[in-house]
Symmetry: C2
Subunit: 437 residues, 2 copies
C-alpha cells in the first residue's frame, strides 16, 4: 500500500506496547451508562412499530436525530458546525501547534427497517470519548475531531466528500429518501454548490478511528470482546445477464428449451461452489434475481443476477471472478443460453494501519478484553478516509450476527468496552502519532 | 375416463375408416384464400407496432374484433347471438329432429404482445367451414354451432361458462384488461347476473371440434402437416416458498448462511433433473422466481418459485412432483432453509375421444396429409368442453414452435389444410355420431 507510515515523534525509540502500558493507570474511563442512555434516546428518531428504525438519510427522522446529536456534541464541549457536504463536525483544539486532527466518527442514518446500533454506536461512542476528555480536563496534543458522516447507507456519501471529494455524479444520485444527494445536502443544512470544498488532503488528519458493531456473528460465536479490524474488504459487484428464449412451458419439449432461469440457477450454484472451494475468508453472494417474463407458464427468456464478491485481497476477488466466468461459459454452452457479465461497482480493499491495529489490540488487552484480528466484510466510512489518512477500526460483538434488521443487537457492556478501547487508543495515538509529512 | 362413448347410430356396423373413405369424393373444400384474408383482417384489431397483437379480453380491440367476427358469422349464414357469458354463438339447424349440436370453435382474445394465429385460426377456420357448408348447400343432420369463447387467455373463462358454469369466484377474477370478469362480461354484451345459465349438460353437444396451431415446434421440426391431438395435458402449478435468513452479504461467513436463493437455485436445477430423468413426454418448468429482499448486498431470506408440471397422465405428474418434493427436502436440509409447496391450480388431463382422433387421422390422410398423434401441452377451450362432450382437436404447424409472441407464425397452406381436416371430420361426425343418451 502507498500509505505514509507513522513515525513516533519524540517517542520513536520506545516500543508501542511499552508506551501503552505506561499510560494505563492514569487513563480515564468512559461513562457506559450515559453512552447507552444516549443510544436509547437516539433510537426514538425514526422508530418503527416493530422495533428498530427507518432513519433514511435526508428524511425528517434523520434531520431531527442530527439536531439531537449536535446537542450531545455541544454538551461534550465540542465546537460544532455542519460542513458544506452536510457532515456534522465537532472540534476541540490541542495543546501543540500545527498538528493534524485526530478524528473519530461514524454515521447515524439507517437502512429501511434498520437497527439501533449500526453507525449509532460509533457516532455516540466518539462523542462520549470527547465528553470524557472534557470532563477529565484531558488536553490532547492534537486537535480532536468528531465526524458524523451523512448518508453512509446510501453509498458513503458524507465520508466520500471528505476522503475523495463529491462529483456531480454523486450529487445526482437519487437516495432512498426520494431526494437526490444534492437536494438532501440542502435539506440537512449543507451547501451542494460548495460541497466539493470539504475534501481533505493527506496530512489534514493524523489518524481516523471508528468504533462499529461487527455486523457479523464471529465475535459473538467465539465469545470475543473486541475485533481488531485488519481492513475493510474489497467489494466488486456485477450484473449477470442470462439470455435464453422465452417459450411456452407446456408445448416446448425439454430438449428444445433455452431456459434462462435453469442456466441462472446453475450459475448461482456455481458461485457458491467456487467461493467455498478455495481456501480463505472470501465471500460471494447472489442476492438479486429477476426472471422475464416471470410467469409459471412461460420458460424464462432472460434472467438478471446480482453477483457480490468480497475479500481483503483484490487478487482473490479476481481469481474467484475468473473461475465463475469460466463455469458460466460452460453452463451457457450446456443450456443453449448466452451469459454476459457487467461490472457494477468496485470498492478496493482498505487495510487498516498496522500500528493502529497494534494500539487497538494493546488498549483492549490492558482493559482486560479479549481480541481477534478480523476483516470487515461490510463497507464503512473509514474505507474512504483511508484514501487520505491512516485508519483504525474497533468492532464490538453483534448478537447472532444480525444486522440491517430491527433484530440487530449489541450488549450495553460490549458497547462500553468498545468505547473504552476507542478512548484509550486515541490517547495512545495522541502521544505517539505524527505524520511523516 | 367416465366419458360416454359414441354409438354409430344407423351406421353402427360400418367401420369408421370405411365410412370416411366412402364420403371423400363428394366432400367440399374450404376456400383457403378467403380464410387467410380473414385472418389478415382480424390481425388489425389490437395490432402492435412491432407486429402481432395485444388483444386482451375485454379491451376495446377485443370488442371491435368481436364485431368483425360476428359479421363473418352472419356472412356464413349462421344465426348469431351473444350468450349471457359473452361468448359469440352462431347456429344453423340440422335436418334431423332432436339431435344435439355439432360444435366447433376457439377464441380471438390474445395475451399481451401475442401473435396472429393462437385462437384466431380455429375461430375463423370454424366460420369458414360453416360458410363452405352454406355455399355448397350441405345440410347436416345435426344442428351446427360455432362458438367463439371469450377470454381464453385469462383462464378459459367463456368455455368454462359452458363446460362447468361460472362461479362468483370466476366473476371476481381481475383480468389483464384491468376489468373483473364480471365487468368484462358486461362490457362485451353479456349479462353477468345470468351468465351461470349458459352452462350446458351432457347430451347438449354431440361433439366439439377445435382447430388450433400447435404452439410447439414438433410438427414443424418433423415436417408433418397435421397433429392429431391425443389429449390436453394435465397442468398442475405450485408456488414453492424457500425460507432462509436474510443477512449481510459481506459479514456473514459462507458456512453461517441460510441462503434462500442458493437453495432455490438447487431446486430449479433439481426440477429439470427429475423431469428429464424419467422416460416420457412430461414437461416441468420454473418460470417465475422472486427473491427477497432482492439486493446485491443482502443474502436472500425468502424466495418464491413457480413450478409448472404437465403430462397426459395425472399419475406421471404426481410421480414427478413427489420426486421433486423429496429432492427439495434434501436441499433444505443441506442449506439450512425450509421449503413449502403450495398448490396453485390443478387442470386435469383431458383426453380427446379416440373415435374422433381416428376420424381426424382418416380425414387428413384422405386429403393427402401426413399426421402425428401428439399431446397438447397448452391449455385450450376444448379441455373444459371435454367435461360435457366428446372432443377432438386438430393441430397445424407453428414455425419454430414460437407462440404467445409477435413472431408466432403458421403458413397459409397449413391453415388451409387444417380447416379442410376440420370440415371433413365434421362431415364424418355428422354421418356417424349420436350420443349414447
Amino acid at each position: 500500500m502507498n500509505r505514509r507510515q507513522f513515525t513516533l515523534g519524540a517517542l520513536t525509540a520506545i516500543g508501542w506496547s511499552t508506551v501503552a502500558a505506561s499510560q494505563t493507570p492514569t487513563q480515564p474511563r468512559i461513562n457506559g451508562g450515559r453512552l447507552n442512555e444516549h443510544l436509547s434516546a437516539l433510537a426514538k428518531f425514526g422508530k418503527n412499530p416493530q422495533g428498530g428504525v427507518s432513519r433514511l438519510a435526508y428524511s425528517q427522522a434523520d434531520l431531527r436525530a442530527r439536531e439531537y446529536v449536535l446537542g450531545l456534541m455541544r454538551e461534550a464541549k465540542l465546537s460544532v458546525s455542519v460542513d458544506a457536504a452536510g457532515n456534522l463536525v465537532g472540534r476541540r483544539n490541542g495543546s501543540a501547534a500545527n498538528l493534524p486532527f485526530l478524528s473519530m466518527g461514524s454515521h447515524i442514518d439507517s437502512v429501511p427497517d434498520g437497527g439501533n446500533y449500526d453507525g449509532d454506536v460509533g457516532s455516540l461512542g466518539a462523542i462520549e470519548v470527547a465528553q470524557v476528555l472534557a470532563e477529565s480536563n484531558t488536553l490532547l496534543r492534537h486537535p480532536l475531531e468528531v465526524l458524523i458522516f451523512q448518508n453512509e447507507e446510501g453509498g458513503l456519501i458524507g465520508s466520500s466528500a471528505i476522503g475523495r471529494g463529491l462529483t456531480d455524479k454523486d450529487l445526482n444520485i437519487v437516495s432512498r429518501s426520494g431526494k437526490t444527494v444534492r437536494q438532501g445536502i440542502q435539506f440537512i443544512g449543507g451547501d451542494p454548490a460548495t460541497a466539493s470544498g470539504v475534501r481533505r488532503r493527506r496530512g489534514d488528519i493524523a489518524a481516523y478511528l471508528e468504533l462499529h458493531i461487527e455486523q457479523g456473528g464471529v465475535l459473538d460465536a467465539e465469545r470475543i470482546d473486541i475485533g481488531v479490524v485488519e481492513g475493510i474488504v474489497g467489494n466488486n459487484r456485477w450484473d449477470i445477464r442470462v439470455e435464453g428464449f422465452a417459450n411456452h412451458a407446456g408445448t416446448t419439449p425439454m430438449n428444445q428449451r433455452h431456459d434462462a432461469l435453469l442456466a441462472a440457477a446453475k450459475i448461482v450454484d456455481a458461485v457458491n461452489r467456487v467461493v467455498t472451494g478455495l481456501p480463505g475468508r472470501q465471500v460471494g453472494t447472489v442476492g438479486r434475481i429477476e426472471a422475464l417474463p416471470g410467469a409459471h407458464n412461460v420458460i424464462a427468456g432472460e434472467v438478471i443476477l446480482g453477483l457480490d464478491l468480497r475479500d481483503l485481497a483484490s487478487e482473490k476477488i479476481e481469481l474467484v471472478y475468473q473461475k465463475i466466468v469460466a463455469e458460466a461459459r460452460q453452463i451457457a454452452k450446456a443450456t443453449g443460453t448466452t451469459v454476459h457479465f457487467k461490472e457494477v461497482t468496485v470498492d478496493l480493499p482498505a487495510p487498516t494501519d498496522p500500528r493502529i491495529r497494534q494500539l487497538v489490540d494493546d488498549s483492549s488487552k490492558e482493559l482486560g478484553l479479549t481480541t481477534k484480528l478480523m476483516p470487515s466484510g461490510a463497507t464503512h466510512d473509514a474505507q474512504v478516509i483511508a484514501q487520505i489518512a491512516p485508519i483504525g477500526m474497533i468492532f464490538v460483538p453483534s448478537i447472532a450476527g444480525v444486522s440491517h434488521s430491527p433484530r440487530e443487537y449489541s450488549r450495553p457492556e460490549d458497547i462500553t468496552n468498545g468505547a473504552n478501547v476507542l478512548l484509550h487508543t486515541l490517547l495512545q495515538l495522541d502521544r505517539v502519532a505524527s505524520l511523516d509529512t
